[in-house]
Every structure is written in C-alpha cells, then in structure tokens.
Symmetry: C2
C-alpha cells in the first residue's frame, strides 16, 4: 500500500515568527494538519503558533486530536488509539499528514510516540522531520544567557523523574537544564540550595510567548504551581544575561538582578 | 551614547529554508550584517545559508569578518580586535548590526564572545537574540532518531576537551551528543568500543546541508580527518531511524543499516 507521507513539523517555541520557512511551506502544502491539544476545551499551543503564519488553505483539513496531560496509561491509550485511527484513515487514503509539535518534533515531543509507532502500523511509510527552534534555545534567547560555549558541557534532565544525582551532575556540567519542573519545584529549590547554586539558577516559562515569565529568584516561587512549559536553567559560569553577576557571594542575600527590559519582552 | 542595536541571529543548521521568519526579517531590516568567515578565501557558512533568503537589500552593508579556526590566542586576539573596531564603528554611528551564526547564536557559537564583551565595550547597548534551529535538532531530523523523550536525559559534550569520564556519562544519560569530534575520532571510537556502545553511535556532519554525511559505522572513519561541523550521537535506547535495530547483540558483527533514502537527502 502506498501511504501518504507523515511529517513531524516543529513550529518553534512560541512566537509565530520563530517558525522556519520550511515549516510554513510544508504546512501550507499538506492536505491534512494533525493538531495535538490537551483537551477539547484547551486551545492547542502548537496551533496557536502556526495558525497565523500558515493562514487559510483551501481544502486543507485541520484534524484536532486530544492527548490528556497525564502519565496514566488508562487515559493516554484510548487517546492514541483514536489518533492512530484518524491519522491512519488519511494516510491510507494516500493523503500526507503533518503532525505539528511545539519546539522541535524530536525533543520531548508528543510526536515521538507517533514516530515510533508509524513504521509498524503503516509499513514502508515515508517520514520526514522538519526540525524547529527548541525551548532551550528560546530560554537562552530571552534570558540572554548562553547555553554553552567552547569546552562547556550541558546536561538536560527531566526533573520530575528523579533528582537524586543532581548535586553530582551540577558538579560535572557547566549548564544544567531542568525540564518538566512544574510538579517538583520544592525539590528543585532544595537541591539547588544544597548545592549552593540557587543563585545561579533562573526559572523561565513560555519563553518567547506573549505571556512568558522569567523569575531569577526561585525561592519566591518554590511553592507555586508552575506552568507545564517551564524550565530551570542552572549555570556555574557567570553569564551576561539574567544570570549576570549572581553567584556564591550572593547566597543568603540575593541582590536585585537588573534585567534589560528587552529581555522581558516576548515580541520584537 | 546611543548605540545601534546588536543582534545575534541564528540562521539555522544549514538548509536555507530552516531559517526562521524572524531571522529573515531582521536580516532584511538592519543596515549592517556582520558575517563571520574562517579566512578571506573560505566562503562564510552562515552567509551561504542566509544569502538567498535575505536577498539583495538596497544600502545594506555586509561586513565580512575573519576568525581563524584555531585555539591559538595569538591568532584569535587580533581577529577579535578588528571585529570589535569594525562593529564598534557602526554601532557608534547609531547603526544596528546583526551578527549571523550557524545554528543557534547562544549554543557554541562565535557570537557568544561578542555577546560577552559587548556590554563592557558599548555600555548600555541593547542586545537581541534571534534563536535558531540548532545542529542537534538538525542531526535528529536527518537521522530520524529522537534526541530524547519522556524521562530521558541528554548530555552534550565537546569531545576535544576531555573524554575521560565518557564511560560514566554513557551509563547515566540516555543520549550523549559529542560535539567537536573532528580531531579526536580515534579516542571517541576507542571510548565507545570500551563502553560496548560503538553500535549505538552514528556520525553526522553538515546535517541538512547539501553535502551532509551520515556514517553509522564509526570504525570505518576512525582515522579520517572529519569535518568541523560534525557530531557523534550515542543513544542507549533503540530508536527508529539510523540507530534502529542496532545494539549490543550486533557488536563484532555490525549488520547493514537500512536507511530510508529520504534520510540522506538534505533538501526536501
């Protein structure tokens, strides 16, 4: 059987104009865009990014698919069953389907499970990845703190799955990016305090989106319910941006961080 | 003094259409584009990416700056002196300058040193970062192997600055991205053989460029002089793409890896 082509298209971290030229072109050309959303009532974040640049396309189907935000397989499995059926019907009809993903489609994305399952479900299917600007590049851009340079090492850790060896990782890497921190902020703050690195850390959510948030004092939000699209960046090195001039000397008496107002603005 | 604005603009990993809409717009609007090149005779890689999408802009200056590819400070320092003088003259005249960088401007980029020095040299200068698709997203896209998903951890290591603890890092991270491997391939191969992970690794250079190269058998190039824009990806997990079906069982008798021809094509 000759299936349509499956695309995984990264739409970038949040600002519409951080989509790539290729992403816009592919999304204008395909007959079907598959759009993940958290529930039938929540607007899709990926589609909020892509909708305006892609615009109206005559005859194009926008296929909304719901993936509940839970680790409970009893809720996720039926959602994926529906998604596979819906996407499969289009592919089997020879239509190409572009599944959109915030950031990059192969970096902690919903698309990865589809990508993994596709060759079994639709043997011989052609898959094409359109890479996107990732959340880590977005966070670096809005804090103006480099991710890494020269001989520096970077670790990327999903914080909600274990922080026991964080002190050791903080010793051995120059920049540590903690993802999925929303549910574990108290433990993240405790681990950073213990490592004497609480003042070398910054919390960022929804980088480059209109409602982005940059919080240099993690203690002030240690008990908050944080956004899903959030990250904590820990940098041993003194950087130029939000992390400039902060460090061990400041522990216990965090000084006010001067942030250029341009850093706090999502749109150019 | 009111300086022009300094932009660090990521032009993405190699294919022209992986530039973002914002990068193209900024580069069309600024009066000066600063373009790093390795020598006066080597074409700038960043400009090769940006030139066509940006096109001709009346009255715009393209300022070529040479940064020799060396760690020798005696050669780098004069290059930066020239760059600071040249860029400074434009900024002091109130002109905005966009410095272009391959990939993302805050991820192992020449721009980072300029970014670090700028606030001292031009006090109060406004700096804006335009993030780009990084080389790691590009490598994932062309190999079709996800960088990380769910609870997986990622380590990014510049290989030319020490590999002693690589076995330990390979134990503790799901995906390890080794950058700057060109001069240390024999040591990278030896370390991966020792860790029994040589068949879980793939070499990629110039991902998404017209002359990209994907080499699943690292042993075949262990003594080659590799390209500067190259990376070795090591993944413990069985992935879908180039790394599919490879693993410990294959050690000593690496099977031929089937690669979808679409994976080897740089352009869509």
């Amino acid at each position: 059987m000759k299936y349509g082509k499956l695309y995984g298209v990264g739409v970038g971290p949040g600002a519409c104009d951080l989509m790539t030229l290729r992403a816009v072109r592919v999304l204008r050309e395909v007959p079907v865009i598959a759009i993940p959303q958290r529930s039938r009532w929540d607007e899709s974040v990926a589609w909020r990014i892509a909708a305006a640049p892609v615009g109206a396309v005559a005859g194009q189907e926008r296929l909304f698919l719901t993936f509940p935000m839970t680790k409970n397989p009893q809720h996720i499995a039926p959602a994926w069953d529906t998604a596979f059926t819906q996407i499969g019907q289009r592919l089997e009809a020879g239509k190409s389907v572009a599944f959109i993903a915030e950031g990059d489609p192969l970096f902690y994305s919903t698309f990865i499970y589809l990508h993994q399952q596709a060759p079994t479900r639709w043997p011989g299917i052609e898959i094409e990845i359109v890479p996107g600007v990732s959340s880590i590049s977005a966070v670096a851009a809005v804090t103006s703190d480099p991710i890494a340079d020269g001989q520096e090492r970077v670790a990327i850790i999903p914080a909600s799955y274990g922080l026991d060896d964080l002190p050791d990782i903080l010793e051995r890497f120059d920049t540590v990016l903690l993802l999925k921190v929303s549910s574990v902020m108290p433990r993240v703050v405790a681990a950073l305090e213990k490592a004497d690195l609480i003042d070398r850390a910054v919390y960022v959510s929804k980088a480059t989106m209109a409602d982005q948030k940059i919080v240099p004092d993690l203690r002030s939000i240690r008990n908050d319910r944080c956004d899903y699209f959030s990250m904590v960046v820990v940098s041993r090195k003194h950087r130029n941006g939000v992390l400039a001039g902060r460090g061990r000397a400041a522990v216990g008496a965090p000084r006010k961080v001067d942030m250029d107002s341009s850093l706090l603005t999502a749109e150019r």
